[in-house]
């Protein structure tokens, strides 16, 4: 769109537009003497404009704070460096992207190097058989694995935990200085909960978010996660 909007305002909006422009110029420090004369004349008729100016100035300062943060982020991002043709750079970035983030997080089995497996599977942190309630160690002093297994087991007993999905999602990998590899991954637990009521979240035209009650029909998902 390249038309000049100032020339397309309905007559009824001219005053409002002029008012908006004056406030905006004052905020930007670009108001000339003529603008200031107009502003004073307007304020003499309608002192509420001072309050509008004050609110606008406050909003502008708050927004500037965010934009300063944005500029700091922007200054951290340089062009990809190194030698070679742009195609080589692109290929390198594709490789990084493939392994580096949610967007391309691959579902891969990582049990072979973590020793972790699906719930009810072969993995048992201690002993040879599945733990019973009496064998479960207290959480204090338990290893993360023991505590996790205890959560799964007691969750299953009271119906809270349905299952742990066998696949784990790799979020991030990073080679460490000692030659090992750090892997950040997501374990997926299916839980069950009984609710009193269900709500849907909606956003109105002003961007306000609120919830409204909804009736829930039976839903069974047959797709994989």
């Amino acid at each position: 769109m390249t038309h000049d909007e100032t020339n397309n305002n309905p007559d009824t909006n001219l005053d409002a537009s002029a008012r908006d422009l004056l406030i905006s110029r004052v905020i930007d420090g670009s108001a000339d003497p003529e603008d200031w004369s107009s502003f004073r004349a307007l304020a003499a008729q309608d002192p509420a404009i001072w309050s509008e100016l004050s609110s606008a100035q406050r909003d502008h300062e708050a927004l500037r704070e965010s934009i300063h943060a944005l500029e700091a982020i922007a200054q951290r991002v340089d062009l990809p460096g190194g030698s070679g043709s742009p195609h080589v750079i692109e290929r390198r970035f594709d490789l990084v992207a493939r392994w580096g983030g949610w967007a391309a997080a691959a579902v891969i089995l990582i049990g072979w190097f973590t020793g972790l497996g699906p719930v009810g599977g072969a993995h048992q942190p201690t002993g040879n058989g599945p733990m019973t309630g009496s064998m479960v160690p207290s959480l204090k002093g338990a290893t993360p694995e023991q505590a996790f297994d205890q959560y799964i087991e007691s969750g299953r007993e009271d119906g809270r935990v349905v299952a742990e999905l066998p696949d784990q999602l790799v979020v991030e990998t990073r080679p460490l200085e000692d030659g090992t590899i750090e892997v950040i991954y997501l374990r997926q637990i299916i839980e069950r909960k009984v609710l009193d009521k269900a709500y849907r979240e909606v956003t109105d035209e002003f961007g306000n978010r609120y919830t409204i009650p909804v009736r829930v029909d039976s839903v069974v998902r047959d797709s994989s996660f």
Partner: protein
């Protein structure tokens, strides 16, 4: 701020593959590119990730720009497409997910500028600014960039200066009204939940 707004960026040399010129062009444009991304990205997307994607495209695709005068509109289009493509991926990932909103653990809103410490006022105004109608979002955000003039914004958006000035002024008024409306309705939108837990179905749009 070390970056400056330059009207004489070595765009032609950058188009012909000069790496140093490319770097200068990027340093002279990356801040408004960040503002464009912020205006179009989904709330959950990391701004720095998107900027890196755009930087990569500048490296690999700038030779496709035929005329240096077309570079800024081209770069803006690249930024918008990058933000929207990522938004579509995010929507696909979130589609069909149920989100539990328990009474004991309120869910944290994702932030537009993740990792940056902002005052509550700044967050509130930023949320409202990125929810402005599309035509007003970019000029309002860009006008807050350090020393970016109306003329430079007009240059990037491909609009007359008067149009940019009008959009900034109107956008600021809309922002003011939105914030006042939100403030006035804040107390009246308290929601009742019965018992302990409730479910929120559908993640809802970031905007």
């Amino acid at each position: 701020m070390s970056d400056r707004w330059e009207d004489t960026l070595p765009i032609e040399r950058a188009i012909h593959g000069d790496r140093e010129a490319m770097s200068r062009v990027w340093e002279g444009t990356r801040r408004w590119v960040a503002a464009v991304l912020l205006a179009h990205k989904s709330r959950t997307t990391d701004l720095e990730d998107l900027l890196q994607q755009v930087a990569l495209k500048v490296c690999t695709k700038i030779h496709e720009v035929r005329d240096p005068s077309a570079f800024k509109p081209w770069l803006r289009t690249v930024a918008i497409n990058t933000a929207r493509a990522d938004g579509r991926k995010t929507t696909r990932r979130r589609f069909g997910m149920l989100r539990l909103a328990g009474s004991t653990r309120p869910e944290r809103e994702p932030e537009h500028l993740r990792g940056m410490t902002l005052s509550d006022d700044a967050k509130r105004v930023l949320d409202a600014a990125v929810a402005l109608p599309e035509h007003y979002r970019e000029p309002v955000l860009m006008r807050c960039l350090h020393a970016m003039s109306t003329k430079q914004i007009a240059d990037v958006l491909g609009l007359p200066e008067t149009t940019v000035e009008t959009r900034v002024a109107r956008g600021r008024r809309m922002l003011r009204e939105t914030l006042e409306h939100a403030q006035n309705t804040k107390e009246s939108t308290t929601l009742e939940t019965k018992g302990g837990s409730s479910a929120v179905i559908g993640a809802g749009g970031a905007r």
